[in-house]
């Protein structure tokens, strides 16, 4: 039920964002209609770079800490990494679409772009680790450790690349002196965009976790069935006698 409410509210807020973003808000003085990407691209990037990866890191820590260890945290980490891959790829795609007309190139070796691309590769590596067949506990341990090793790396990658080169415009909302450089209807639409994409993320996360839970249950059930079949193979005569 909660999942359904999440899904519906994300759909509604997304539709509102699209309506406000395309028809209601004015074009930008410098960027014209291109600025409308601002209602989608930063929210997606926020989910990809902070929310999803943050949840994956915390869930992995929770799994590794023996007192709170439970399959729940592994499912949460696995699901948020998968959703993070989708959102990181979307960040790169929407950023590319925005970069081509404004910067004149699809791709630039800018700090944030490079960090995001490396993050995508690192996340794909963790997914590759999860695909290696193993018993659930080993797989959970491997994946949690891989997440921790990668989580330590991402800030270092970010700062080294920032020093390396920077072209991307600085943050609009969360800048150093917390003075947003966006106003009026555009600011509200951007805020709505953040809410909508965040809701969408949590809905996808919840759906993904349900799939994970059902897969686990199915594997358990298959094992039980297989065991029962093997028992039944040796048992018919005994059953016949009993009847």
């Amino acid at each position: 039920m909660t999942v359904r409410i999440l899904g519906i509210s994300s759909l509604v807020t997304l539709a509102l964002t699209v309506w406000l973003g395309i028809w209601v808000t004015p074009p930008d003085r410098v960027q014209g209609d291109l600025v409308r990407l601002v209602y989608i691209h930063p929210p997606i990037a926020w989910v990809a770079l902070y929310l999803a990866t943050g949840i994956a890191t915390l869930a992995s820590l929770a799994w590794l800490w023996s007192r709170s260890r439970s399959p729940y945290w592994d499912r949460l980490a696995a699901s948020s990494i998968e959703v993070a891959v989708v959102f990181t790829a979307l960040t790169l795609v929407t950023g590319s679409i925005w970069g081509r007309p404004t910067w004149g190139v699809w791709w630039a070796w800018d700090a944030r772009l490079t960090t995001t691309a490396l993050l995508l590769v690192v996340l794909l590596g963790i997914l590759a680790i999860r695909r290696i067949p193993a018993d659930p506990e080993t797989r959970a341990r491997r994946s949690a450790l891989a997440v921790i090793i990668a989580a330590v790396d991402v800030p270092i990658i970010h700062f080294s690349v920032v020093w390396w080169k920077t072209l991307h415009q600085s943050a609009t909302v969360l800048n150093a002196n917390l003075q947003p450089t966006i106003h009026g209807s555009m600011a509200w639409t951007l805020l709505l965009g953040f809410v909508a994409v965040t809701l969408l993320f949590f809905w996808m996360l919840a759906m993904r976790m349900r799939i994970e839970r059902l897969t686990d249950a199915l594997e358990g059930a298959e094992l039980t069935d297989a065991l029962e079949e093997r028992w039944a193979e040796g048992a018919p005569e005994v059953e016949g006698v009993a009847r």
Binding site: L64, I149, I156
Partner: protein
């Protein structure tokens, strides 16, 4: 922990001294990488000179990858659980294996450094900066390499998995090491941010390895 680290490093290096796999196979491979890049860049000296610092570090990363694979191949198969059964401190095993890889890579880096100077005509103005960058960068490569090596050791897909995991993770070393070398070659550019980045990377991963190598060993 330190005593176990010394034991493990001594064991790995003794095997290397007797088998000479890293020196006789990985070393020539690193030099070959430099030669191949020279072919790719063409015979003009200017682009080669410009690319020299980056190519040195790319060659170091490739060689480091092979050194890490070799380090875990020593304990593959029947000997897989030997180190764990010996009751050694996991942190000691981590530091020992990393130290052995650092020692092997240090020899290779001298070789590759000579290769860069000979083939590409690079001139290193401040040898101190070069040495400091190499030391910090190599510690970082070895620490991350041993962590990811342990994560992928014993898996059937380890040969393909390890480069996929390790190379993006050590991207900061490639960036910072290259910049430090460029500063050492031309002079005048700021060098401290890069040496700090390399050192922070190395310290963070050495500390992380000491903390998590125990559970990491259980995951194979």
């Amino acid at each position: 922990m330190w005593r176990d680290a010394l034991l493990v490093a001594g064991k790995d290096l003794r095997i290397e001294l007797r088998s000479r796999v890293v020196l006789n196979q990985v070393g020539p491979f690193g030099v070959l990488v430099l030669v191949l890049f020279a072919f790719a860049l063409g015979p003009a000296p200017a682009p080669m000179l410009q690319a020299a610092p980056g190519l040195f570090w790319v060659a170091v990363l490739f060689a480091g990858l092979l050194a890490v694979q070799r380090s875990f191949a020593l304990e593959s198969g029947d000997r897989g659980d030997g180190l764990r059964l010996a009751g050694l401190d996991p942190a000691g095993i981590f530091l020992g294996k990393a130290a052995a890889v650092v020692a092997e890579l240090a020899v290779l880096e001298v070789l590759l450094g000579a290769g860069v100077v000979l083939f590409y005509g690079a001139r290193l103005h401040s040898v101190g900066v070069v040495a400091a960058a190499c030391l910090a960068g190599t510690l970082g490569v070895a620490a991350t390499g041993i962590l990811y090596g342990a994560l992928s050791s014993g898996l059937r897909v380890r040969e393909t998995l390890l480069p996929f995991l390790l190379l993006p993770a050590v991207a900061p070393i490639l960036l910072a090491g290259t910049r430090a070398w460029q500063a050492a070659m031309s002079g005048g550019q700021p060098v401290w941010p890069w040496l700090v980045t390399l050192s922070v990377f190395a310290v963070v991963y050495l500390a992380l390895g000491v903390l998590i190598f125990g559970p990491l060993q259980e995951s194979t």
